[in-house]
Symmetry: D4
Subunit: 226 residues, 8 copies
């Protein structure tokens, strides 16, 4: 059983957050982000999808959130996992499956999840309606608090995407987005990782990267003219 990193001493504010996820109890599951499956995604551009997933990998590395990945038949037509995940989150643990479509059908996968002791599962994957939906519903039944990151996942049409969102809510899975996940784990700018976190906002919202560039130039201009 692979060991997972321990979360840093919490820097979170203590006044609020009763309804928010606790980073120290959070485990991220990245499911079947594979090159063949990406071609079938139609509810988000594949460049945005990959950038969002890569951001999550960076975020987990930065904040020591454990990550488990898995793939469905990666030597077959589904294709390999996008390599950015393990490059950016070297601590991520990969679990091979034995043909199961639903990762929760694989005993090794469930055991790996259980080994972390964490009860808040953040899931993303392709397809949303299958590779996220099935383990999310199963984990919910198993008593976990489950989040589905809609825009770090992908579905084969807009109509399917709306359907998945409704089914998650019906099944007690909490739908969220990549930017919200970033902020929900971030929680405060008064922490040592603030500068690194700021860069991540430019990934979930590319216009924000331009905002930062403009800001720096404006300050530079102000200093030069003062």
């Amino acid at each position: 059983m692979t060991s997972h990193p321990t979360a840093k001493p919490s820097t979170l504010p203590t006044g609020g957050g009763a309804a928010l996820m606790d980073p120290a109890d959070t485990l991220v599951l990245l499911l079947d982000h594979q090159s063949g499956l990406f071609q079938t995604v139609k509810d988000i551009p594949v460049a945005d999808l990959r950038r969002n997933v890569a951001m999550i990998a960076r975020l987990c590395t930065l904040l020591d959130i454990p990550v488990i990945t898995t793939a469905s038949e990666p030597s077959g037509t589904n294709g390999p996992l996008m390599p950015e995940i393990h490059e950016l989150a070297p601590h991520a643990v990969y679990v091979a499956r034995k043909g199961e479509v639903n990762a929760w059908d694989n005993a090794d996968f469930v055991a790996q999840v259980e080994s972390t002791g964490r009860r808040t599962l953040v899931m993303a994957g392709v397809w949303t309606s299958v590779c996220v939906m099935f383990p999310a519903l199963d984990a919910r039944v198993a008593g976990y608090d489950v989040y589905a990151v809609i825009d770090a996942s992908g579905d084969p049409s807009e109509l399917v995407s709306r359907t998945s969102l409704a089914r998650f809510v019906q099944g007690g899975v909490k739908p969220t987005s990549t930017n919200a996940l970033l902020s929900e784990l971030h929680r405060t700018w008064a922490r040592p990782e603030a500068a690194d976190l700021a860069q991540l906002y430019g990934l979930v919202a590319p216009n924000y990267a331009a905002v930062m560039e403009s800001y720096q130039r404006a300050q530079q201009a102000a200093r030069q003219s003062s």
Copy 2:
């Protein structure tokens, strides 16, 4: 009373799936997929709708899932059922109605459903908001576990489509999609029907067919150059 096929000995993994449909308890109801009604569908292109419905017919044949079909006034303006259903699912049982808009209002139809002994009903039809909604809500009241396959059904506008999705969830009907249905019945690649199932993915996600073509050519090229 028509007899329905018995499901094959289960090849499903046993670890998970607590929240998923059990193929051995599942009955597919295809409701009023008629040529005249197709002209009024505006939330999905009719070619996609028919391909999805045809895929479900193939899937049910492949996995021995029983199917019941029905039509509303097929000699009238609503037009005949799309012929692909019974061509691809020759075991499907057709129930004639006596003018009822809601299939559940027809005693023969309900009796046919009951005769299967199955309690998980997967419904699709045109219109979603009527021909699926009415029997789905009624079956829910009657204690069945009911799924509505949104993209194997059709509604007369996007606005109506969003409305139907909300009403399903409110009424305890589980919204799903054709690709999710395929995967939820498929469950594992470690089964004898795997090759046939793979072909079906190319129908629910046409880009996947091209993925498979590319894969085969890439392997062929590798073998020729090795």
Copy 3:
């Protein structure tokens, strides 16, 4: 207190419909369909909205469903009610308000509703988010079974429209559509009004009118060639 028509002896099938509205208990409320407010509707083309509302008026006349209408400051900028409603549903009862935005805030309106003895309220109006939402939520609290006809109503943007749909569901109001209302009151083709009802389908789905025209010509051609 104005008297309402009594419903015709029921022609409905008796086998199903447990989850559907009972026409004999149904009252339709058409709220603030006014020419000035129509200009602000952006989630449905105004021609479609008016055609849907006019269809409901015809339907209620055909099936003896009582109708109450009201308007918000019709001599002011909100403009007059669309005249088709009272032309097509001459039995509709108009209730004047005294400035209240929420029709349920007007005692005369509530009294008129109560006088019908009906407990299933079908509401449509402009704006959905206000003129339908407020009385719908209030009626729900007062114990009525409430339906909101989304596409016989209108909101000032798509974003508001989606928001209204969510708030209805949250508040226990059942969202529905004009075509579903037609079918839910129609219930069976084995009734004397069938030919008239068929015409109404051409209004909720204009392609269906062309389907009927093609059907008649095809039959005529068949008879001429036989």
Copy 4:
């Protein structure tokens, strides 16, 4: 602790509104409407978003509804609050934060909310999925009745916007819109502020401003020709 204005003696009708917000118990929270964050908003045009927020500021001033504002790192890249808020709602109270992303994590902010004694919180902000979602969920847990004004808020994509709406409903937060908020606080035209309120409708629905212009000209023409 800053004092908040007392609501005017109620002019509301007494018959209905059981399900609606009580203006005398309502507090408006405007969260992080900052120029840098505006650039990342993709589910509503920024001109519409600002006009909606400015309308809320005017409305609160007109009806003596207390307002609390806050900003996230306004000297940094997130940028300053849009100046219209405090210009149009001079009674609004600004609470500085100490780096917390979630305003509810800031003790001063929560204390300021509590000091008003009001239990109905109307929230809007950028991003919807973060700056509104987190305090909304936390306030819900703390027992408040919470509304999220979807179109006076903004999210970085349509997909995220739909996700936020679903998560609000799941968490017991009531989604609403700027026009509905206006009408829900307005409640009746039989009040002294009617003329001023009428102007506000031209902001939430710009076509309505043209309706009013046409109306006045039509009346002027009628009087001149009579």
Copy 5:
């Protein structure tokens, strides 16, 4: 050869219009507006398309513009012509074809056009890319001044629609719209048909019908209060 009506003595202004069509030289050709073909139209809702075509029929009757209609295999699957055309333009001349897809391939049709002596041809039909395009290009080669009314015609996709527009311009055919045709033939409110023409604007722009309703009510209110 059928006789065509003579245009009324011109009421047009004489100062401008050098670049506009001359009503006295204009002939309207309505091509293959058939119920079966309508089902394939995807660049405009069929209700809008029919309303536009019906408006043109009314307009031609009102202003004595000659009309020629034709249909492609109307006893076959293409279906009958929409009946509104000949109902609203009883002076329209119908030319039967002998199987030709392109009306200009039919000698009777061309002879009928020539018999009018008019050289400005306004064409509309289904499909735009075929039934309008082919005779439009042929007529252009034959020296006619040709207009294609894009929104009184229909194509099987948005992509095809944009393609047709480009091909028309490339071929020297002038693209126009139903509302522009109305105005271009209307030309001045200082004519006896003004009141009838005003009603037609409510058909090409349904919001305009509501504008007229509001106007009348505003004037009525002004007169009552004066």
Copy 6:
């Protein structure tokens, strides 16, 4: 005949601009921007349309570009001109028409245009396809260089809007946009009106207003910290 202002001594750079409009030869024609017609515009939100037109009025005042306005039956259902035009461009000359739909059919209008001696006409109006198209084509025939400002004009559908654009190009009218007009008259920041012009960019692109706010705050922050 009303006198028009003389352009300021040119501050333009002399190196380029051979293909651009000459401000000293430019006349702006604002045609039928009326409240009743605004309700029928569907290719641009009415708030954006009015803001664009108001920007043009400000721009012409700032740079001393002459403006002529006109309206079609402003006491009738078409409604009054939007008042912002003459408020923001007090030098604009209004020409009344005598019922002509096409302003170029009105001799007074043409005379007013000719009186300015300018040969570059920039036109905007509602509808684009009629009130701009007809005088634009006529003026082109009369030898003027004509620009149509597409987004300071409005058409009753997207399909009509695309059609109008094609017809303008075919007729030799140059299509342009409000932001391009601003820049084409602006030409250089090295001019005394630069600060005022900067504000106008925030109107044609509302995000730019937020860019300016962020910039000022960033500089203020830099200066405070230096």
Copy 7:
């Protein structure tokens, strides 16, 4: 040099068609419809694209129109040609390239085109902006009459698609669509291939297939009841 089939004795009408393509002079070029490239197409769903291309293959076989195909690096990542082309058009001639992106850069390809003696080239391919554009522009310069079938081709975004359309027109290439190509080669129902051609219309417009099904059932019903 491969021999091409001779066209059947013409069955075309002789009255019109001066502006239309001559089937006896037409050569169809299908360029780089490869599985890898299909994944990058975003202006048309890949299922529609393949169905359109397959229809063209059938059409050319049915009417003896010669076809040339080619592929760009089909053993590499671009992937193999879609197999339907050569299956449905066994007479198509495949020309291998030597790395050239532009088929017209390949001498064998140009020689093969020239060998047919035909001067009307109908091109389709992926990407439209490259694999169709480059040979189309080159062939135009070489004096051919060139058509680009927009919806049997594909581009990587809607924006690129609109750009390609404009560039074709500018370069003298005629844009057309699959349905128009079918009709332009079809020309008349009075030909022996009529029944086969009718089936092809169900491919270019899937709703038409349902129209035909309804028609047959309506006739069958008429005959049974007569």
Copy 8:
């Protein structure tokens, strides 16, 4: 005057390309890609825009195509140039302007263009309608062959974007796209830069990157199993 690199000895095929740009005569102009202006772009996501521009920078470096950049008031609110350009194209020459909106108004800029001796200008910038349009039209008048890369540029709305495209065509400027530019300079895979060029296709079409990943894995799998 800065010296520009000499193009590599041509590796282009010689048979075709008469209508295509000659790399040895091509100069790329990147105009005002600034962080402040990016916030106003609404016809393409800013991430896509930047990725396209960065690809062009890489491409020019790889193929020794000279590049000139310029910016409009980069110390002001328009913000700095996106840094990727000069990072990826270190040979690019930056020309400062003196306030001119139109780069062609700046004598230094025109001199720099002329110094290259190249007559084929490929332009991209923000806004398309201004920063690309003005120099493009001016350069066209000056006799250059001018291309505008539509999706490496940006405009403030979809409507403006369509307008710009039409105006380019009207003015004799050739519209193109980033992917077409890549292919038009690429021309053949039989060149030493082929592997590097292949990577660039993954930037202009992100799905292509996944195609390449799948291809490599498929080949690896084939080799392992052989």
